[in-house]
Symmetry: C2
Subunit: 415 residues, 2 copies
């Protein structure tokens, strides 16, 4: 798109009230807008990046047999009372509201209750299992503090998948497929090398769960990493000897790191199916509770993690898989001159070739354009100045490495 | 996709508490699930159809220069107090909630306040205008009654676009472009012929607004239609002589119809920019309030309207542009027989050819499969039975007309 049409502007300084690097940079670059503490709007470039992440996750969920749905934010208390999670003393991050007749409603902070209830109409026999159902849906959590930018917010899109299996054996098989899909997602999003499958406490559901933790100083969690085995242990269970017995990890060799939880996978067992009456008839005709799991990733937290890890002192640095545009085409021309004509023509050719291009066609100084280009962080910058017109070769700058190459138009159009 | 993997089942009878035809059929076909009165979940087939509608709308909004964002549900009261719309006696459909510190928040029922506030950082000069910003975002409205299925719900995705112009002249130019885009959307969604641009009251913003009303007995609105001019007048302003003076419509020739409001476009003028301080410097260097408009369409209401208009006594009938799948491939084979092999091979070929296919590969009776296929409503049904194996010709049934054709595999694979 032409940058002259983009409604967002960059700013030199971050707002004083933003303490997290991800929010400082994303606000400065015009990717997000702070609506209030812990609540952000996604502006055009931010939404493009978020949607790239969502697409990666969707593709990997579909690849393991996930079926996409969209459940509601407004939640009837009934199912939550059955599961014991309606009370504010049990779940302390509820936002609640009321119908006009005074009945209380909740704003969904997760969807085990709603989906388990819904699946009672869809699962009757072992022939109806397994099922894997997921959504990208807004969650609401009444966090007391919100200081981590877009990594911990009061309102956020979450990908939550729930698995419904006959028994623990078939559950475990899918659980490992989901784990492999999560690794692909983090790899594709550019943070695979720093992300560790991490043993964590299972909460009320099972003894352990797994988190995906990305090593980063901005993280709120502390983990202990076995780099050779590419596995880690969350501080919560670091002192539990059973973890080491179960995994063969040598506690002595672990290194303490700060990390960001970018995903988690839980074995729920029959915790919700029993409470909410989701059962099926097995091959022998006996009634059994469905064995469940849940699998979460917050796309915006993933986006914030990428910013925390990859940005530099000039601004954002996006991996190609997540960048709003693959190329930032920067014209140094003035209205109607040869440089502008060359840049316009190259823009048209790139679009025709299917390249996603942000075209800086604004009437602005070169220094301002380069600074903005660094701040916005597209993977490649193509510069069109006097030299390009004279030689037919364009300067191509790699945002991550700073490496400069010269390429002809034909070379730029090869995909 | 293979229907044996689809987790939703059809049901013969609609739930007793569903009075609207659209909800009755969509629930029976497994497209939606009722979470509570006025709140529905979208199941896989329903979400596919909804996303087809969203894609049509997005393409037409992008074509007129719209830039997509995603604003928040949680709303700080401050801006709403400035515009005078926070009070429950002024806006009677608020859902409100609270932060832990007791501060009140609203759940957005529209986004003039939030976006106008946000744009103060982005608009300073006439050079920054015009701007057209839109989103697909969940709205929350505390409706007292909710009896129209997915056409009037307490929680629903809305496409809302807001225009920011220098003055009324440039606003009006865009307003007419938006009107043309709306007509394209309704045309593409298959309801163009029954949809009328309709004069309605402007509410607090301007003397008149325009609604898009689709003639349908299930509608909650009453309009008066001039069929020759393809224009209508809402009952609200039917007795206002100014309407006829302004439009040249002859009141005597109008026909009364029930209709569903599928979209609306409003001239807001400076109602919000003045209240919230969104101004710009014009060419002469004078400070002026930005001239605004708003443009809404609810994709789920549009989906419900299509169901109300096009379904028949056998079930749903989707236009090709909105159908979850273009083709319903129905195999009458048993495990491992020639029919199944032929159907499997045709399924693979159709997928490779880029056709969106739902493949009924279930072990079920032919009568049940045909009844389900009619209920689900894909535009074309391809039947694979004994005859197809013997002759190499497949029966293709048009869902809307019932017309039957015979086609070879090669003919089916031509796109």
């Amino acid at each position: 798109m032409r940058q002259s049409k983009l409604f967002t502007k960059t700013r030199r300084e971050a707002p004083a009230d933003e303490v997290a690097k991800n929010a400082q940079l994303l606000v400065r670059a015009g990717y997000i807008h702070k609506e209030m503490a812990g609540v952000y709007d996604f502006l055009p470039l931010g939404l493009l990046a978020l949607n790239k992440i969502i697409t990666i996750i969707r593709e990997e969920m579909n690849a393991i047999g996930g079926e996409e749905v969209l459940l509601s934010t407004l939640q009837d208390p009934e199912a939550w009372k059955k599961s014991g999670r309606w009370d504010d003393t049990v779940v302390d991050i509820w936002f609640k509201t009321q119908l006009k007749n005074g009945s209380e409603l909740g704003l969904g902070n997760t969807h085990e209750e709603a989906l388990t209830t819904l699946m009672r109409e869809q699962i009757a026999s072992y022939k109806d299992l397994p099922r894997y159902v997921y959504q990208f849906q807004n969650k609401f959590r009444n966090e007391t503090r919100a200081k981590s930018g877009i990594m911990r917010t009061r309102e956020f899109i979450m990908k939550d998948l729930y698995s419904f299996s006959q028994d623990e054996t078939s559950h475990t098989e899918f659980y490992e497929q989901a784990a492999a899909a999560y690794e692909k997602i983090f790899e594709r999003a550019g943070i695979g090398a720093k992300t560790y499958r991490t043993f964590a406490s299972g909460g009320s559901f099972s003894k352990y769960s797994h988190e995906y933790q990305t090593v980063c100083d901005a993280g709120e969690d502390t983990i202990y990493v076995d780099e050779a085995k590419r596995i880690a242990v969350n501080k919560e269970v670091y002192d539990d000897p059973d973890v080491y017995a179960a995994t063969g990890i040598d506690k002595a060799g672990l290194k303490e790191k700060k990390a960001i939880e970018v995903g988690n996978i839980f074995t729920l067992g029959t915790r919700f199916s029993e409470a909410l009456g989701l059962s099926f008839k097995n091959v022998a005709g006996e009634s059994k509770s469905v064995f469940m799991g849940s699998y979460g990733i917050g796309p915006a937290r993933l986006m914030g993690t990428i910013v925390e890890l990859m940005s530099d002192d000039k601004g954002l640095v996006w991996p190609a898989s997540v960048a709003p545009f693959a190329v930032h085409l920067v014209s140094l021309g003035k209205d109607g001159d040869e440089i502008t004509k060359t840049a316009d023509a190259l823009y048209d050719d790139l679009i025709k070739a299917g390249v996603e291009v942000l075209y800086d066609d604004r009437d602005a100084r070169a220094g301002e354009k380069f600074a903005d280009s660094d701040l916005l962080g597209m993977p490649k910058r193509i510069v069109v100045g006097k030299d390009a017109v004279a030689t037919g070769e364009f300067e191509v700058v790699d945002r991550a490495t700073g490496a400069v190459a010269k390429k002809t138009r034909a070379e730029l159009l090869v995909r």
